[in-house]
């Protein structure tokens, strides 16, 4: 089997207008990714949400300003992510003794207790994946909003899709709240700066993912299999 090489096709006319990728062509053929029904997309201009005729799975979601929105949320997210990692989440006070914990401190204490696997899972789902996702989004969206497709977009888009289910900041936030309620029975707890920024980070990450449509970026990557 011959290998196919690819090259990017810069969407030149669109660059001048500084617009996101053009909406898909009229009547484009798509297959539902959940039930495999073959169907044509409805023609549209402007924002559009299209669902499968048989199973109502999302076929296409298109927003004219999707890339700008997700960039704004990604920038917000980066700042909140840095604050969340720099400050303590909670401070515990019991008989004059104070003890606080940061996000990294949580991981480290699990590590020292001899549970490296659990420490790894917590580190990956709350620090690594959100951090890498934010960095990847900035790398992708900053040039994209100026009409340039950054190098390595294919690998990055794939990595983003693979990472997305493993970022669990919102579950972690709920976990912190449950832990706080458990602790109030025997000690006084003081919510730290990072707890508030964590709450905001959850919103920023959700909004960033919701307004980012990988499909739009994929459309900019032209199809041109080179002849072997």
């Amino acid at each position: 089997m011959s290998t196919i090489r690819y090259r990017f096709i810069a969407p030149a006319p669109m660059l001048a207008q500084r617009r996101p990728a053009a909406p898909p062509a009229r009547g484009e053929l798509v297959a539902c990714h959940e039930c495999d029904l073959l169907q044509r997309l409805q023609p549209f201009s402007g924002d559009s949400v299209q669902r499968c005729a048989r199973c109502r799975a999302l076929l296409l979601r298109y927003r004219v300003d999707g890339a700008q929105r997700s960039l704004a949320w990604a920038l917000t997210g980066v700042m909140l992510f840095l604050i969340t990692n720099a400050f303590p989440i909670v401070t515990l006070e019991l008989q004059g003794i104070r003890n606080n914990s940061t996000l990294a401190g949580t991981v480290l204490s699990l590590w020292h207790e001899g549970l490296p696997i659990v420490a790894g899972v917590v580190a990956i789902t709350t620090i690594c994946v959100p951090g890498i996702m934010l960095a990847a989004m900035l790398y992708l969206l900053l040039p994209l909003n100026r009409g340039v497709l950054p190098a390595g977009s294919i690998g990055l888009l794939r990595a983003l899709a693979a990472m997305r289910p493993w970022g669990m900041v919102e579950v972690f936030l709920l976990g912190v709240l449950v832990a706080l309620v458990k602790l109030t029975h025997f000690a006084s707890v003081i919510p730290g700066t990072a707890l508030w920024s964590l709450g905001a980070l959850v919103i920023a990450l959700a909004a960033m993912s919701a307004s980012f449509h990988a499909d739009e970026v994929w459309r900019r990557i032209g199809i041109q299999p080179l002849k072997p």
Partner: protein
Amino acid sequence: MTAAHYRLANCHSCGLLSRLEGDGAHCPRCGAHLHLRKPASIARTWAYLIAAMILYIPANALPIMITGSILGEQRDTILSGVVFLWSSGSWPLALLVFFASIMVPMLKMIALTLLLISVQCRSRWQPLQRLKLYRLVEFVGRWSMLDIYVVAILAALVQIQSLATVTAGPGAVAFAAVVVLTMLSAMSFDPRLIWDPLNDATPEPATPEPATPEPREPRASPDALPR
């Protein structure tokens, strides 16, 4: 009409629809391997699911959290943690943890077993309901991680010498593994398999319905398709 009927495959990575020719075909846009269905979907889903079922036993039997204080050492499993929350009066929290840590993993494993068996029997029963069940399993899976995070924070925070110390127990390892394995199991299941028996059973219409597209020109630009 399904895409597989015309040997058209959705790229699992970038979503481009292209014609599948021979084995080992690659997506013309992103270079990913093309498959009509996720490869070995049923076997992989079973493998992760059975591993999760086995680990579910130590996850519930072993202590997930060990609390040491002047009064002695207390070993808490997931269920005794819920009971503690309930008896200490915070019943909304007890319900939350009960749902996230006990109900969700168990229902998830039951649901995946049901989906797998129905697919293997080539069942044509309620495909839309089964698809909705799958979507629910995918959506709700991550929330089981809740108890792991609670223990992690408590273990980091409650380290006050001689008064109280909290350490995570071996049950936490098993429970984290159950959550990760059930998530992997749900990811490797291909929901299109639910619909396949239906598609095979419907007789091919003599003339295509107006909604069904012509297989001749699968894209706006035919050049886009790989030869």
